[in-house]
Symmetry: C2
Subunit: 566 residues, 2 copies
């Protein structure tokens, strides 16, 4: 690491750190991690943002604009004529992507460079290689070693699932296992859960998956109450093997199995990091590994998602998820924003967030199957990019990640869309839809199918938000100029689900690169853990006042008293 | 209606409309609907907001502050020392509540005044009487006529449920009904669904409730696939009797019943407005009414929630929900913000949103049972207060409702809390917790129960967000000053669930009154419906180009083509 002026900056304002990066195992390049506000295109975009394209009115969306403002990758089309931008902004967003060398950084990530780090500060200093889990289909994977490790785990999973299928692995009475409960939280829960729900139409007959995450004992109690434990496998997932909630729930499930007269070692699987406290195959029916170069929130395509998804969808369908994700990862290597959906969506998001000033992003799938996909994205995006420190170890002076939220349409139309259309906060929207339904069981009412009604509503919302409507009655007026995009694919298959997941994962990574933050750590969750331990200690030692005169005056004690918990 | 200067404004800046309101059937009062920015306390609060109380650091939360900044109603305690305010701000928030006459307006609403209106414009012009549904326990209900109607429906519900229980009402084979599917959307879905999940520990053994909302055919397909239709009741809920999604799903379920060789008239119930197209008792096994003075998003305590909740929880537990809600409605009549939780929370929200400038509000229940409660609040709040027109028919010049979102803790801690602690957007938080669990099935690990871990984490997050932490490593620094409150009760019982629901409903109403908007209409959802109909027409008529040269150039047609749906 050495400090120089980046060559392309003619008027350097401060000394900057340059980080040496090597990628594809071949070329060595000097990699300037430039601050967002120091990029020239950022300043040009700031000027353009003073007069963004107006979508409001009746002549703002001519057919050529709608036809021209679209892009596609891996079977997904993005229609973005309803964003507040023109060709000039688009060109400048391409310049921004080029200037920040976003696809170079992405390639470096995929090739195994240490992208999880803060220069000059103690940090995790790890590779970021979730992409290697799905780089299984090429003879020249970008990170051969990590992909070899992924393949090894996949082979072990395939063997295990075959043995469950063919009756080699059964319960003690020789009955087949029909249910799997995944015990995990955060990254070990949200992604696998979202995908499991997202592909309900592809579940194997007679197979079922449930999830326990919360340390709230009611979570486990409600799930366990609905299961026949004798034919249930329990999949405990924690990369560190030390996650409080997961270890507690593992104990709770072990106790429930014993209470039911069952042997936990015949029912419980583990997915954990090699060498973690949970890496003890003796205690488990089977163990699978994940590696420290895969962050929890990016782990759905590793064994963290693989075991449960493989059980409920079948191994081949899980492989299809990986194929979709892998192909989207390849598409994300293209430096042209018009040909790279993750990159384009990253840039559109930055335009809305940093330049037009909108604090949140709503992801609204017109697909009931994607019910929990926004919750997964909320995690993946906000934990990755809700950051305050640049990769140069300085406080950021620009906006980083937005607040991400959403619910499926058309449900949301009958809920919060009132605010989207007429509220005082403007919310950029990403709609997601599929041309045909998953179950393909439909009904025609008033001349159209339910699927047609669903899609018509999605497109109508996109137009209504963009164009608005004049009206004499101010309460029936719609100001329009609510920026949005529509993302479309043919059907929510395992392949499409994998591609969609990778599309968002890569969009998030591109934005983090652009903001020059480390999207792969999560220091912001540490303080709460420390304080929780302190409060638990007081709870465990009984009355918070007992013989602890200093502690008694602490906010922790005072809060416990006020809460009636001392 | 006549125009005067409100008597208490010494320097009137513009002529204002005054609206005559009568309430409690006795007193007539001139009711000034003053604009938010014209209130004197608003201007004083604006000044105070320049130097809000700083929570960051170690000496900011002395025990007396924590002990002093709390309030309670109906078994709920609110700890709000971790908000950015002091006694002076609190006094001024009381002044704001007084000046805007918030409890007077609330009393007027409960007494049946026409609060759903915009003066001088075509508007719904209706009473707002969801509170009457739960004003069943007093001899002097605030709106006797509406309460009498509610009691009539309750009696009919009780009879119906008794007949289901005692075998008078069965399926054609004489078997008891064990499942109920509620078909509804928006207000006819989110509230009842949130309450049903919220009280899972109180479900009657052998009873089950499911919900179908989305017009996405995969929603119904997935739900129906998991049910034995022969023992299933279907509860179709639509106030207007014209909701597209609900009518379509009713058809779909009718077809599924017929396909299973069952007679739909023996399985399907209706909850609808008197005189609606669905008000046709011949077609249904039983019909229940709701009234036009109850808005969909406020209807969970009417028959909209009552039928399914009564079926799955038992009539007495539903009555307990109403008792909790009714008592919170009474608590909301108290003009002192220190003794009225809904009013206090309304004022704290306005402080954070209008004065400290935070665009969103996160509701984070430390209770897995409240999994979908934030989604219900999101609807109730954003559809009520995401408005642009004052009740005087003028565009508002101040911020109205925030974006409301949230997920249960501790799950969220492993998801989006990174941004809450270290992101560039500041998100005010409302934590919700209960001292004991619902199922009361728990485990002790490392000296504490899961319930203790849950609560310790909630309190720890509250402190961490408020106080932050200094650190040499900028990436491990926490700026603090993230405002939040903790709402606590003993246990999530039906009574507590009802009180919590009414607490939020009333907070939302108070904020709407304060912003001088109509919280009870939803004109913002209309434009999307019109455009969807137009697009559906094109879909139904086949290729969008066929013989429609003008339509071909419309954005609707161009979008259909670009989407590959023409």
């Amino acid at each position: 690491m050495r400090c120089v002026f980046p060559p392309y900056q003619t008027e350097p304002r401060r000394v900057r750190c340059v980080h040496l990066l090597k990628y594809e195992g071949v070329s060595t390049m000097e990699f300037p991690f430039n601050n967002f506000i120091d990029l020239k295109s950022v300043h040009r975009l700031q000027k353009l943002a003073k007069t963004p394209y107006s979508l409001a009115g009746t002549d703002t969306l001519p057919p050529e604009r709608i036809a021209g403002f679209q892009a596609s990758s891996c079977g997904f089309n993005l229609l973005y004529a309803t964003q507040r931008l023109d060709e000039q902004v688009l060109t400048e967003l391409q310049n921004l992507a080029d200037e920040a060398r976003l696809t170079d950084q992405f390639m470096a990530m995929k090739a195994g460079q240490i992208m999880n780090r803060i220069i000059g500060q103690e940090s995790e200093d790890r590779q970021v290689l979730h992409t290697a889990c799905r780089d299984l289909f090429s003879e020249t994977p970008r990170a051969p070693e990590a992909t070899a490790q992924a393949k090894e785990q996949m082979t072990r999973l395939q063997t295990f699932l075959t043995e469950v299928d063919n009756g080699t692995i059964t319960n003690e009475q020789g009955q087949p296992f029909t249910s799997m409960v995944q015990v995990g939280i955060g990254g070990s829960d949200l992604g696998p859960r979202a995908l499991c729900l997202g592909l309900k139409g592809f579940h194997l007959p007679g197979r079922r998956a449930e999830f326990i995450a919360n340390v709230d004992p009611d979570d486990a109690a409600a799930v366990l109450a609905g299961l026949d434990l004798s034919t249930t496998l329990v999949n405990v997932v924690s990369k560190s093997g030390t996650t409080l909630e997961t270890l507690t729930n593992e104990q709770l499930v072990r106790a429930a199995l014993k209470d039911a007269g069952l042997n936990p070692a015949r029912h419980i699987l583990a997915v954990t990091g090699k060498g973690s406290p949970m890496d003890d195959p003796e205690k488990y029916l089977a163990s699978f590994y994940m590696y420290d170069y895969i962050g929890g929130r990016y782990s759905a395509t590793s064994m963290v998602g693989g075991v449960t998804l493989g059980f409920v969808l079948g191994y081949d369908n899980f492989l299809e998820i990986l194929r979709g994700a892998g192909e989207m990862d390849r598409a994300a290597e293209n430096p042209s924003i018009r040909k790279n959906l993750p990159l384009l969506m990253a840039m559109l998001g930055i335009w809305n967030h940093n330049f037009l000033g909108h604090a949140t992003l709503a992801v609204l799938p017109y697909s009931q199957a994607l019910l929990r996909f926004p919750a997964h994205l909320q995690q993946c995006d906000m934990e990755s990019n809700g950051k305050q420190t640049s990769r140069l170890g300085q406080p950021v002076e620009w906006k980083t990640g937005p607040i991400v939220w959403g619910e499926p349409g058309t449900n949301g139309q009958h809920a919060f869309y009132q605010l989207l259309h007429q509220g005082s906060e403007i919310v950029p929207v990403e709609f997601i839809g599929f041309r045909t339904s998953q179950f393909q069981s439909d009904i025609t009412v008033q001349g159209t199918t339910s699927q047609q009604k669903l899609l018509a509503n999605m497109l109508a919302q996109s137009l209504a938000m963009a164009q608005g409507r004049e009206h004499d009655n101010p309460n029936k007026r719609f100001a329009g100029n609510r920026p949005n995009s529509v993302l479309l694919a043919d059907r929510l298959t395992p392949y499409a689900m994998g591609a969609l997941l990778a599309l968002y994962e890569n969009r998030i990574a591109f934005q983090g690169f652009c903001w020059n933050i480390n999207s792969f750590d999560q220091e912001g969750v540490q303080l709460g853990k420390i304080l929780a331990d302190r409060i638990l200690e007081e709870m465990a030692s009984g009355s918070s006042g007992q013989g602890k005169s200093t502690a008694q005056d602490s906010p922790e004690s005072a809060l416990l008293r006020a809460a009636g918990l001392d």
